[in-house]
């Protein structure tokens, strides 16, 4: 441990040391301010799959995603609750991509490895084994609510329709039938055992505003990724387009 030292100094020496310290302080402070100005006024990124964020901040978001994906495990489960704790009134937030009336002959379109599309009816989906989950839904705005959803586990869906080749790709893309809302999800999150294609909430069919007939429920992401009224599912090795990533949000948005 260093002890406090006392030194005899002349006035001049004190002045000198003060001058050096305060100059350094001022210069470093000025540099900090300049650095901040640079960052704050840094231009927006070039619009592409992601858009709307400051260029350096987008870089930081992407690097942070890589860091966390490297150290984190894909096998962590979202905490689940007893059904009795689920909210009766499920919060509804936004109707992007579902404003228009739903067409009468809705089919789920799924891209196969061959490039051909599968068109799946609602009744067919309901005949698959059902998985339920009661968990704390987390909105990127900050609120959270315990909700009870039921539907087809995404991996069950993949196995049933023999899409195993497709999930070797890096990403899944989901879009509403009108293409008004769309999300891209990294494959490890998509095939997480708690990801489901939901058609029920509180044991009842989904209300229109909650994404009837089929919506995504992906508890390892913020709510922005849980797309309502799924029209199509595609697979790719590049990031599929993502509505909120084009509006300045983190592409990964994982929890």
């Amino acid at each position: 441990m260093k002890t406090e030292q006392q030194k005899e100094l002349t006035d001049q020496q004190i002045k000198r040391r003060n001058f050096i310290s305060f100059t350094a302080f001022g210069v470093l402070g000025g540099l900090a301010v300049a650095g901040w100005e640079w960052l704050y006024k840094s231009g927006p990124e070039n619009p592409g799959i992601t858009a709307g964020a400051h260029k350096p901040l987008r870089r930081a978001l992407n690097k942070t995603e890589l860091f966390f994906r490297r150290v984190f495990s894909d096998n962590h489960f979202v905490k689940t609750y007893p059904k009795s704790m689920a909210a009766e009134q499920v919060r509804q937030n936004g109707d992007l991509g579902i404003e228009a009336p739903l067409s009468n002959n809705w089919r789920l379109s799924v891209e196969q490895a061959s490039g051909q599309k599968l068109f799946i009816t609602f009744d067919e989906l309901k005949s698959l084994p059902k998985t339920e989950i009661v968990y704390d839904f987390k909105c990127i705005e900050g609120w959270d609510q315990i909700q009870h959803w039921g539907g087809v586990k995404f991996t069950d869906f993949i196995n049933h329709y023999k899409l195993q080749d497709q999930i070797r790709k890096q990403y899944v893309g989901f879009e509403t039938p009108d293409g008004g809302y769309y999300v891209g999800i990294d494959m490890p999150s998509a095939v997480h055992p708690q990801t489901i294609l939901a058609y029920e909430v509180n044991d009842k069919p989904l209300p229109m505003e909650n994404g009837y007939p089929l919506r995504l429920i992906i508890p390892v992401k913020y709510g922005i990724k849980s797309l309502k009224r799924i029209g199509s599912i595609t697979f790719s090795n590049n990031r599929p387009r993502d509505y909120w990533a084009e509006h300045g949000y983190d592409y990964y948005s994982g929890l």
Binding site: E4, E8, R17, W36, D136, W143, D144
Partner: protein
């Protein structure tokens, strides 16, 4: 000590500001007792004045970059304090809590004498240790709400996602209160004290003014 202190100041400012950009998107915390809502944090004019509204994504982007600086800087400070032995001046001892009260009374001019002190008085020991615990608390509650699935054990330990977010918010309010008192105390302590936090030494005048002044270097 000086370095991390001055790095922390702007970093924490950015964290609080970007945190407010985030909080605005769902500003539902209030102090409600027995069904009566005493107040809601931040009135609309306050948001408008600071250009807070509709900047959630920007707030998150800043918050998730500066969190690294905040955490790393805090970590360096704690390591430094441990390895330099400075912790001996900073950690409260068994008399500190009682003495801290006496210091507070003294500072409020309710008591004439202050208890004897070392480099930091008892109230400072309590406050400066508390702020570090708060800093650690912010990092932990922050991690719990940032990655509640990956840190689900931590999130549960803090009472779940919802409560952890309230802790995180409350700690920030705590910083602001600390800051106000800290600034008042710095002004009262005077120029020589402030200079020492910049330059690392304090000027101590001898009783006999004809002798040269002595500089006391803290080497921190």
């Amino acid at each position: 000590m000086r370095w991390t202190h001055w790095v922390n100041f702007p970093v924490l400012t950015v964290m609080i500001w970007s945190g407010m950009l985030i909080y605005w998107a769902d500003d539902e915390y209030s102090i409600t007792l027995f069904g009566h809502r005493f107040f809601r944090f931040f009135p609309d004019w306050f948001y408008k004045e600071l250009h807070i509204p509709h900047r959630l994504s920007e707030g998150m982007a800043f918050h998730f970059l500066f969190m690294w600086f905040f955490a790393i800087n805090g970590f360096i400070y704690v390591l430094y304090t441990i390895f330099s032995g400075e912790w001996r001046y900073l950690l409260p001892n068994r008399h500190s809590f009682k003495e801290a009260w006496l210091v507070v009374l003294h500072d409020l001019h309710l008591r004439k004498t202050a208890p004897p002190q070392g480099k930091y008085n008892a109230a400072q020991r309590v406050a400066y240790t508390a702020i570090i615990i708060m800093g650690i608390g912010s990092v932990l509650t922050g991690l719990a709400i940032y990655k509640p699935v990956q840190f689900n054990w931590l999130c549960s330990l803090l009472g779940g996602y919802h409560l952890a977010r309230i802790w995180h918010f409350a700690l920030t309010i705590g910083y602001v209160l600390f800051f106000v008192i800290h600034i008042v105390q710095v002004i009262l302590a005077g120029w020589n004290n402030f200079r020492s936090v910049v330059s690392g030494f304090e000027v101590v005048l001898h009783e006999d003014v004809s002798e040269p002044p002595i500089a006391q270097a803290d080497e921190n």
